[in-house]
Symmetry: C2
Subunit: 118 residues, 2 copies
């Protein structure tokens, strides 16, 4: 950062620490993408959908029935999960069958669960 204008309204107390942290700080864009990923996990409806799909492939109706929600709201959330490449789907007749696109997703899920369980 070579900008002189700073929103930081204070005298820097530990310039050495700030510099050291800045040095080994991950890429800005990477942290942004990471936040975006967690944001998707940060909704109970989407968490429930992912949790359900980790057990078995399901169609929109099945998920709506399981979570006692409308097809529409489930479809909206599935679109978000699809855009984030967290779920994939196959169409068969009138139905669309959704499943997890990646096993790695559940590792993040499980790690989070461990922390919540304390």
């Amino acid at each position: 950062m070579s900008t002189n204008e700073s929103r930081c309204d204070c005298n820097i107390i530990h310039q050495d620490i700030v510099n050291a942290v800045k040095k080994s700080f991950p890429d800005e864009l990477l942290l942004y993408d990471l936040a975006e990923l967690f944001k998707i996990f940060g909704d109970s409806t989407r968490i429930k959908i992912l949790s359900a799909l980790s057990i078995h492939e399901m169609c929109v109706c099945d998920i709506a029935c399981l979570l006692n929600m409308t097809k529409s709201s489930i479809s909206h959330q599935l679109r978000i999960l699809k855009q984030a490449n967290l779920v994939k789907y196959r169409k068969s007749g009138k139905s669309a069958y959704y499943s997890l696109s990646d096993d790695h997703i559940m590792q993040i899920f499980e790690q989070g669960l461990d922390h919540v369980k304390e």
Copy 2:
């Protein structure tokens, strides 16, 4: 769930699957807490703060300076992180030094990073 009223506006196609999933479905409250945890991770300011604190303990001014944001907004976010038991702090003189309350947090962080990096 023993309620007959269902928001699910469709005939259930795979009652057997829905029942099976319902059976091995995690506790509702647990999934809610999990979503709340991920929600906290799902903001780039908070992610950056956690990432910084994983490198070194820092005071509010240091963080504000590092991220080029006001003390106020950092303090607000630190309050949220504190309430979620993700950070702890010690006061010394005029300053408040924040650090991660748990190493486990960074495991979730790293796992997410792996996924984002693809």
